[in-house]
C-alpha cells in the first residue's frame, strides 16, 4: 500500500489529482436557486473525525460481555436511552432518541470493511475513497460528481479545505466559506482579477496562488475562516481534530441552502475531536451532545424536503477500554441514517462482543453497501459505476 501519511492526506484535501477545488461565495450558491429538479433529493454527509467510539454511542447494555469489557465506562441503567434489542443510545443523544422513537432514525450496526486499518489517516482515506484494498486519489462522492456532469456547485463543503471525499478524477466539489467579505482599503476587484490571471512559465504552486486572487474577485461575500483563538483551548483537545466551523453553523448553512432550493445535491460537514484515548466517557458525551443538538435542529428544519443525512466515523474503538479510561483504535461501528424515505429502526447485525478479530469487532456489513444505497436511493445514480463494480446494497427504504 502507498505510504499515505496524514500530511499527504491533507495535501490531497487542498488540491486534487483531477481538478482544484473551487471556492464559491454563499451568494453565488444561492443564485442557483430554482436550477434543480424539484424531485431531486439531497445527501448530507457528516464525518466525525478521530474515530467515534461506536460501542459507547449505541450501547449493547444487555450483553454481559459489555460490562466486563468496559467496567468504568458503563452508564447507569436509568441514564440510558433504550432502543430495544438490548441496546441503548448514549445519554448525550436525547434528540436522536426521539427521532428513533418516531421511526425517522435508522441505526446501521457493524459497518466496516475487510482487513481493518487502525491508522486514522489511512482508515479515513479508505472511508473517503471507498477503496479499502488500495485507496486511490479520488473520493467516492467526487467520482459521483464526475458522473453527474462535474459542476462543482453540486457537491459543497462548508469546511475551509475540500475533504478528499469530494475530489473526483475530472472534477471536484466546491468549498463555501460563510460570512461577509470586506476587501482591504485600496484593493479593488479589478486588481484582484489582474493578479488572478495565469502567466506563462510559472510553477503550478504560483499558478494556484494566482488563481486564489481570481476566486477572491468572484467571491464577494466570504470571510477568512474563524481564527483559532485562545477560546478553543477548552474544547476537547485531541491530536487528530479538524479545524472547521462548529457543526451547528455548518448545518445551519446547509439548511439555508436547502430552503432556498439551490442546485447542490451533496453537502459534506464535519466535527473533529473523537480520538479519545484517555478519559473518554465525559468528553465523548459532550461531543455527542453537540452532534445531537445540531442534527436534531437540522432534521426538524429540513423534514419533508427530500434530505437524507448520514453520520459516520473512520473506525470505532477497541471493545476493551484501556486503563486510561479511554479506548484505542478499533474497527466496525455504527452509521446513522436520517431523513425522508429512510425506514427508522435498528438495521444490520450487531457484532459479537466475544467473537473478536484480534480484540476488535468483526464487521457485519460492508460500508460500500451503505454508500450504494445513498448513491441509488438519494442521488439516483448507478452505484456500480462509482464503487468500482460493488453490487451490495443496504435496504432501508421506508
Amino acid at each position: 500500500m502507498d505510504a499515505i501519511t496524514r500530511r499527504r492526506f491533507l495535501i490531497a484535501s487542498g488540491v486534487t489529482a483531477g481538478a482544484a477545488a473551487t471556492t464559491l461565495g454563499l451568494r453565488e450558491l444561492l443564485a442557483t436557486a430554482g436550477d434543480r429538479d424539484p424531485a431531486a433529493k439531497t445527501l448530507v454527509l457528516i464525518t466525525l473525525y478521530g474515530g467515534n467510539d461506536g460501542l459507547n454511542t449505541v450501547i449493547p447494555y444487555a450483553d454481559p460481555a459489555y460490562a466486563t469489557a468496559r467496567p468504568d465506562f458503563a452508564y447507569q441503567p436509568e441514564e440510558l436511552l433504550d432502543l430495544g434489542e438490548g441496546e441503548a443510545l448514549n445519554p448525550g443523544l436525547p434528540g436522536l432518541h426521539q427521532l428513533f422513537s418516531q421511526k425517522r432514525l435508522a441505526i446501521v450496526r457493524g459497518v466496516g470493511y475487510p482487513k481493518p486499518n487502525r491508522s486514522h489517516f489511512q482508515s479515513m482515506d479508505i472511508w473517503q475513497t471507498a477503496q479499502p484494498d488500495r485507496p486511490g486519489t479520488t473520493g467516492w462522492l467526487g467520482r459521483w460528481l464526475d458522473t453527474a456532469g462535474g459542476d462543482p456547485r453540486l457537491a459543497v463543503s462548508f469546511e475551509p479545505v475540500l475533504p478528499p471525499l469530494l475530489a473526483g478524477a475530472t472534477s471536484a466539489g466546491a468549498t463555501v466559506p460563510g460570512g461577509e467579505l470586506k476587501l482591504p482599503a485600496g484593493v479593488t476587484p479589478a486588481l484582484l482579477q489582474q493578479l488572478g490571471a495565469p502567466s506563462a512559465g510559472e510553477s503550478p504552486a504560483s499558478a494556484r496562488a494566482a488563481a486564489c486572487f481570481g476566486d477572491l474577485a468572484r467571491v464577494r461575500d466570504l470571510i477568512s475562516s474563524a481564527p483559532l483563538g485562545e477560546d478553543d483551548d477548552d474544547t476537547p483537545a485531541t491530536a487528530t481534530g479538524g479545524a472547521a466551523p462548529p457543526l451547528d453553523q455548518q448545518l445551519a448553512l446547509v439548511a439555508r441552502c436547502i430552503e432556498a432550493g439551490v442546485a447542490t445535491r451533496v453537502y459534506s460537514v464535519s466535527l473533529g475531536g473523537f480520538d479519545l484515548h484517555a478519559d473518554g466517557k465525559d468528553a465523548q458525551k459532550a461531543l455527542l451532545s453537540k452532534v445531537d443538538k445540531a442534527l436534531t435542529a437540522f432534521a426538524g428544519r429540513v423534514a419533508g424536503k427530500g434530505v437524507v443525512t448520514a453520520v459516520y466515523s473512520e473506525f470505532g474503538r477497541r471493545v476493551h477500554a484501556n486503563a486510561s479510561d479511554g479506548t484505542d483504535h478499533g474497527t466496525a461501528s455504527n452509521v446513522f441514517l436520517l431523513g425522508d424515505g429512510i425506514r427508522g429502526g435498528l438495521h444490520g447485525e450487531p457484532p459479537s462482543l466475544t467473537d473478536l478479530d484480534d480484540g476488535d469487532l468483526k464487521f457485519t456489513l460492508d460500508f460500500r453497501d451503505v454508500y450504494a444505497m445513498l448513491l441509488a436511493d438519494v442521488l439516483g445514480s448507478d452505484p456500480e459505476q462509482v464503487l468500482d463494480g460493488w453490487t451490495g446494497r443496504l435496504d432501508v427504504k421506508a
Partner: protein, 403 residues
C-alpha cells in the same frame, strides 16, 4: 539558471527568507561555501525565562489563574522563538521548525510551556545529528508522552497511541510495520510517567511490562533498544529523506542522498541535481511567509501573532499529530485575503525609500529575494506609485506566496 538565482534559491529554502544583503554576500561566497556556512553548527541560544510552572490550585479561581499563567508562559515562549527565527540568517531555526512540524506536539494538550521548551531543546541538541539519539530522546520526551497519552500506557492496559504514531508519522511511515508491531511497541513503552514536579519522564517499574517483546521481527527489551531498532530499519532513512525533501526540496520523489545524520542529508538534498529545478515549487508555510517578510523588511516579530493565527499556523499549536498541511492547502481565498491585509500592516511599518524610483519593481523583487515578476504581476503593479501600497501588494503577490 544563473549563479545568483541558484544561491538565492538555496537561501530561501534553508533559511527563513534571506535579506537582500544576505543574498549579495552569498553570491560573492558561492554556492557550496554558502551551503557550508548555513549548515555550520551553532551554539543553542540561551532559553527564555518562563518562570516556574503554575501550581494547579484548589479552588476554581486558582485553577483559572493557573491556566491563564500557563497560557501566558506559552505566549512568552512563542514570541521568543519567533524572535529567534527572525534573527537567524542560517539554517538552524528552520531545522528546529522542521522537527517541530515533524514530531508535531501541541501546547493545547500538553499545557506546559516548560515541557514544550524542553522538547525544543531536544531538537536543538540532537536535531542536526544522527537520528538515533533524537529518537531515543523523543521517546522519553515529556511533552510528546503527554500529547500521545503515553503516561496512561500501562502493563495492565497498553495505550497504543504513542507507539503507533512513532512508527507511522515519526520514523518509518505507513506500510513498514504491522498492527502487531504497534501493540508490541506499546508494551515496550508502558510505564513511562511524567513527574509534573520535576518535568522529567521516568520508568515506573510496576506499570512497565518487562516481558521481552518482538517488534519488527526483533526481540526488544527496553525503550532505547526500540528506538535503535526503528532508526536502523530499512524504511527509516528513506522516510526521513522524503520528509526533508518535501519541506526543503520539491513535491516529487526525493533523490537518493547519502549519510545518516540530518546535516549530511540536508547537504545531499541541496547538492542533488534535482534541487535546482524545484524553484517556486513549494508553497510557503504561514510562519515562513511572516518571518521572511519581517527579516527582509528589517522589522520585529512583535504584533505578527494575529496574522499567524488568521493564516492558521501558530507555533507550538499544530492542528494534529500529523503536523501542518503542506503545499496548496495553504492557498485559499481566505489566506489570500489575510495576506493582502497583513501585507498592508507590514508595509506600514517598513522603510520604503528604495521603492519610489523608476526601477521600483526591480528594487521590490530584490528586497523580497524574488527572481522577478511574471508579466501578470508586473502589469498589475506597474501603475502603482505609492511605495507602501506597492510593497503591500508585493508581499501578497502569488510570486511571494511560493518559494
Amino acid at each position: 539558471m544563473t549563479d545568483r538565482r541558484l544561491v538565492t534559491h538555496l537561501l530561501r529554502r534553508l533559511t527563513f527568507g534571506p535579506t537582500a544583503a544576505e543574498v549579495d554576500a552569498a553570491v560573492r561566497a558561492g554556492y557550496e561555501a554558502t551551503l557550508e556556512r548555513l549548515l555550520r553548527p551553532v551554539a543553542p541560544p540561551s532559553p527564555p525565562d518562563l518562570g516556574a510552572a503554575p501550581a494547579p490550585g484548589d479552588s476554581r479561581e486558582q485553577r483559572q489563574a493557573a491556566r491563564k499563567k500557563q497560557r501566558d508562559q506559552v505566549t512568552t515562549l512563542v514570541r521568543w522563538w519567533l524572535g529567534r527565527m527572525a534573527a537567524d540568517g542560517g539554517a538552524a531555526e528552520k531545522l528546529i521548525f522542521f522537527w517541530h512540524g515533524h514530531w508535531a506536539t501541541s501546547a493545547q494538550k500538553v499545557r506546559s510551556a516548560q515541557l514544550m521548551l524542553t522538547q525544543q531543546q531536544t531538537f536543538r541538541r540532537y536535531g542536526s545529528g544522527d537520528t538515533g539519539p533524537l529518537v531515543r530522546a523523543m521517546l522519553r520526551d515529556p511533552a510528546l508522552i503527554l500529547w500521545l497519552d503515553g503516561q496512561k500506557n500501562t502493563r495492565k492496559a497498553p495505550n497504543e497511541n504513542l507507539a503507533r504514531e512513532v512508527m507511522e508519522l515519526f520514523t518509518l511511515g505507513v506500510g513498514a510495520y504491522t498492527e502487531d508491531d504497534v501493540k508490541a511497541g506499546a508494551r515496550v513503552l508502558t510505564g513511562w510517567q511524567i513527574d509534573r514536579a520535576t518535568g522529567q519522564a521516568r520508568l515506573v517499574p510496576k506499570r512497565h511490562d518487562d516481558q521481552p517483546v518482538t517488534v519488527l521481527g526483533r526481540q526488544v527489551g527496553n525503550l532505547d533498544a526500540y528506538a535503535d531498532l526503528l532508526v536502523r530499519h530499512e524504511a527509516h532513512l528513506p522516510f526521513i529523506v522524503g520528509r526533508l525533501w518535501a519541506r526543503y526540496g520539491g513535491s516529487g520523489p526525493a533523490p537518493a542522498v547519502p549519510g545518516r545524520d540530518t546535516t549530511t542529508l540536508l547537504r545531499g538534498i541541496c547538492l542533488a541535481p534535482e534541487f535546482a529545478a524545484t524553484t517556486g515549487g513549494l508553497v510557503k508555510q504561514p510562519i515562513e511567509w511572516v518571518v521572511g517578510a519581517v527579516r527582509q523588511l528589517g522589522l520585529t516579530v512583535e504584533g505578527t501573532e494575529p496574522v499567524l493565527r488568521a493564516l492558521g499556523q501558530m507555533p507550538l499549536r499544530p492542528p494534529s499529530v500529523g503536523g501542518w498541511p503542506e503545499g496548496a492547502a495553504w492557498l485559499t481565498t481566505s489566506s489570500t485575503l489575510t495576506r493582502l491585509r497583513a501585507g498592508q500592516k507590514l508595509a506600514a511599518k517598513a522603510d520604503v525609500d528604495g521603492l519610489a524610483g523608476a526601477d521600483r519593481l526591480e528594487a521590490l523583487a530584490d528586497l523580497l529575494a524574488l527572481d522577478g515578476w511574471t508579466d501578470r504581476t508586473r502589469a498589475a503593479l506597474d501603475g502603482i506609485r505609492d511605495p507602501k501600497k506597492l510593497l503591500a501588494l508585493g508581499l501578497a503577490s502569488p510570486e511571494y506566496a511560493v518559494h
